[in-house]
Amino acid sequence: MTNHWIDIRNADVILIMGSNAAENHPISFKWVMEAKKRGAKLISVDPRFTRTSAKADIYAPLRSGTDIAFLNGMIKYIIDNNLYDEFYVKHYTNAPFLVNPDFKMPGELDGVFSGYDPVKRKYDKSTWSFQKDENGVIKKDFSLQNPHCVFQLLKKHVSRYTLEMVEKITGTPKDKLVEIYKTYASTGRPDRSATIMYAMGWTQHTVGTQIIRAMAIIQLLLGNIGVAGGGVNALRGESNVQGSTDHCLLFHILPGYLKTPRASQQTLKQYNDKYTPKTKEPMSANWWGNYPKYSVSLLKAFFGKNATKENDFGYEWLPKLDDGQNASWIMLFHEMYLGKFKGFFAWGQNPACSGTNAGKVRKALAKLEWMVNVNIFDNETGSFWRGPDMKPEEIKTEVFQLPAAASCEKEGSITNSGRWAQWRYKAVDPPGEAKPDSWIINELYWRVRKLYEKEGGTYPEPILNLDWSYGPKNPEGKVIKIDPHEIAKEINGYFLEDKVVKGRLFKKGTLVPSFAYLQDDGSTSSGNWLYCGSYTEAGNMMARRSKKDPTGIGLYPEWAWCWPVNRRILYNRASVDEYGRPRNPKKPVIYWNGSKWVGDVPDGGWPPLVNKDKTRLAFIMKPHGVAHIFGPGRKDGPFPEHYEPLECPIEANPLHGTRINPAVKLFYENGKGLPEDIYLNADKRYPYVATTYRVTEHWQTGVLTRHLPWQLEMMPQNFVEISEELAKEKGIKSGDKVIVSSARGKVWAIAIVTKRFKPFKIMNTTVHQVGLPWCFGWQYPEDGSGGDSSNLLTPTIGDANTMIPETKAFMVNIEKA
């Protein structure tokens, strides 16, 4: 979230699309309803009428996987009707930037941008560049008229997304499109703001990143980023998934979104040079220019005294990815299936149900020598070997079950979607032999370390040089009790020697007050620069619980702590005019009082734009200081373009000759590939569009909730929701048991025949859409009455940029059981 949960109440229009907040983020609806009480309009766009739609002022259906067409249509509407916020677009975005004249767009190149290599399925991005003057400064046209300026290119790009075309692709009735576009675009005025709440309904597509890009462009055109009640807000699917991501849950990042080193970056200097952006723009703060300070401080946190200037602060001890290697979820299980893994830690997860194409995941698990399953309950992953279609006598995988403590059985912080790190206390002891994750990791670390000490082995240095000061140690040196406060302090960072920074003297051993004080000379440490300031000499900022709200817009700056530097609304300097006056005086986020900013923590203390020599542009994390309407960093194009899902009901993209995202990695093509990875497009055997989702009553794969009789009582069995029209066609009655099958697998489900699903008219044919939850699994309830995971149906394909699987749009068939 660029903003935060409470801020939703400040919105004048709320678009919930690609998420079902009422069901999966019910607490957020406290603020949605508060906004509605204050007059906000709620819009729900979803293939089915959900509990969110039930509360919406406007509901519109759309076919799964066509969000970009819907949103590009909105961009066109905003530009055609001059509803954009001109001041904002000119000052805070790259709309005036002039693009390389050789840059070509899908309208000109039959669905691809310039530089496409169809063999490698990759773009050469050299034409996706800006025109620069002799000093290397980007050329701009602030009148936005130059045909090569980003704004004109965008206008040209979306010109193909007419209402008629969008209706043909999405199946959304034209009048609904206009109603929604008009309502949403009404927030192009400075005194109005709109927010978008999205989740996996947007990310889990082959074009997931570009859907969010499209929305970001809309928000930028309307001036809705950095303001109260605005932003681009991802609703995270788990209470601490934001924290996990900040602390490098994913393969390609280190804590604080530093990059994982690649094999070709042999030295720290090569690494830092590669990832430290440079700019010639005079007014850009280019905050990532501080990259070396953060990477060195991180290495100091990892390796402590063993990290010295002479040994590149231990940079060589970091594991490195091969150049071009992708090690995301789909790839991990693909390689596991190919037998390339010996062992696997399934830590707090249930891939046998949650992974896309779960049948393949289950087979992959059988190829392992060993697996460690760390969880509160046993699950379909830990017991995969005795699951359906498994022959236990043939499976050699040795499974170790480690019972873990639940969140309320241990102390620590969690970071919510709004980036608030909140300290939690232990309520009760874990039952039986269950242990906190930190206890398990500490044991694991100590035993691995002992083995390395005793037996040597290949490259023991990374482990032997780790700094592991997380609590009192026994004479042998083992930490006997992990102290979460020590971990939190290490994440914040210390001064490792007496140091004067910005005229202030900091004593050795004191906590760093903010990342502005971090150094690249080894004098500071920080386990995650974004969290620098969360645990300072003033105490544990995350444990604060003050309900003071000095701004009156619900920032609550002294409740917990928010990264970065307790800034509650990111890019808040985009909420003011060139004199630093709030453009929406009713909901001011910050204002310039003549000598400093008042309100939220600003994106840097530089004075407003009129002070041309001293000011810095609002989007400090962007190299050029402005937000990207033209986003050349993506792998699949600088503008979002509609491509069909891997499996869709039509044979061709209605817009051009490129059906699916040309930059995605294909696992199966023309009969080549694993049989498990098969997909069938526009195939009569699988004629219905399917999507998957969660329900309020169950959490993720249901491992936590299926064991709760109260939750199971409300949602006892897997179901598939179908329209009355399809039910009539297939002779299915509500409550009937049906078999839902895809090219990859099948599950049984109870049919819920409902008015909430309606057939679509797509390209003049009737297309039926169905939906299933993925919260069930064969293991519990024990009698098998719950059914199995709907991920047995989903395909092996991921987004071009993130490799997040496309589980929200695929094709199935339904038959009465």
Partner: protein, 269 residues
């Protein structure tokens, strides 16, 4: 004895009083059907989860049970404004004029708490199930011993100054708990012209704020005691006493005025 104590005794004695202190205001248009209240109720009241099956709807269990005091009904209706999906809490309304208490033959089995809730005491309940006959909303359910079970407004919580579990857990304010008169003015301030249960049945303890007709939500438009109960209460019950007294009085009067049919003189003893 303090005034409150007198009031308390009056309540506990089961004497029905036409006013209420505390109550719930349910606003269906704020309800997102998350059923946090359904679970929170079970958790607080230590009610077991029951085995169910999917019947082709999200709504489950199908009806209130002795282990389900509060249930959200899911109703899909096509209206002129498009499809509506309604989520409505079904539970005891804590009527001011509580039909269940009127018909209950065992004093104290159903009782009015000091906060105005209609609570129950299974020890005193004799399992006759008359309360179901007296209830205008079809609420009371009976456990395997035929003892009454229903929402008691978390009387054990509200008597200690805590809101009922359902109201505490509701994320959107669709269930709000508080002083009944304050809830009423709150609803009026939010633009609801009439509040369901404001005056009906002596004022309901669980009131609904909505803009549609009550029947849209499956509630009786003008809730009242069942007519058979009214007939019984206002006619039959007094008539039984009048009849008994009248018969005795008539006999006495006859004996005094006309007198017995004495045996004829000379008759044998």
């Amino acid at each position: 004895m303090a005034v409150q104590e007198i009031e308390r005794q009056k309540y506990i004695s089961g004497v029905d009083v036409p006013y209420r202190q505390k109550g719930l205001l349910i606003t269906p248009e704020l309800c997102i059907g998350c059923r946090g209240c359904q679970t929170a109720c079970k958790e607080w009241n230590k009610l077991p989860g029951e085995r169910t099956h999917n019947r082709g709807t999200y709504e489950n269990p199908p009806d209130l049970t002795p282990n389900l005091y509060n249930k959200i009904r899911f109703v899909e209706v096509e209206t002129q404004q498009g499809l509506k999906w309604l989520f409505i809490s079904q539970r005891c309304m804590h009527c001011g004029e509580a039909g269940c208490m009127k018909v209950c033959p065992a004093p104290g089995a159903l009782y009015r708490t000091p906060q105005g809730a209609v609570a129950f005491n299974k020890d005193k309940c004799i399992g006759c199930r008359f309360c179901l006959a007296g209830c205008p909303f079809n609420i009371p359910r009976f456990d395997s011993n035929s003892k009454v079970s229903k929402c008691h407004l978390c009387s054990d919580r509200i008597s200690n100054g805590l809101p009922p579990a359902c109201a505490k857990t509701c994320p959107t304010g669709a269930i709000s708990y508080g002083d009944r008169d304050k809830l009423l003015s709150l609803a009026k301030a939010s633009g609801f012209k009439a509040v369901y249960g404001d005056k009906d049945l002596g004022g309901l303890g669980v009131m609904f704020a909505f803009r549609e007709y009550p029947s849209f939500y499956g509630l009786p438009d003008t809730p009242g005691l069942p007519s058979s109960i009214v007939f019984w209460k206002s006619i039959l019950k007094p008539l039984a006493l009048i009849g008994l007294g009248g018969a005795v009085a008539a006999a006495a009067a006859h004996y005094i005025t006309i007198g017995p049919k004495e045996p004829e003189e000379g008759g044998e003893q």
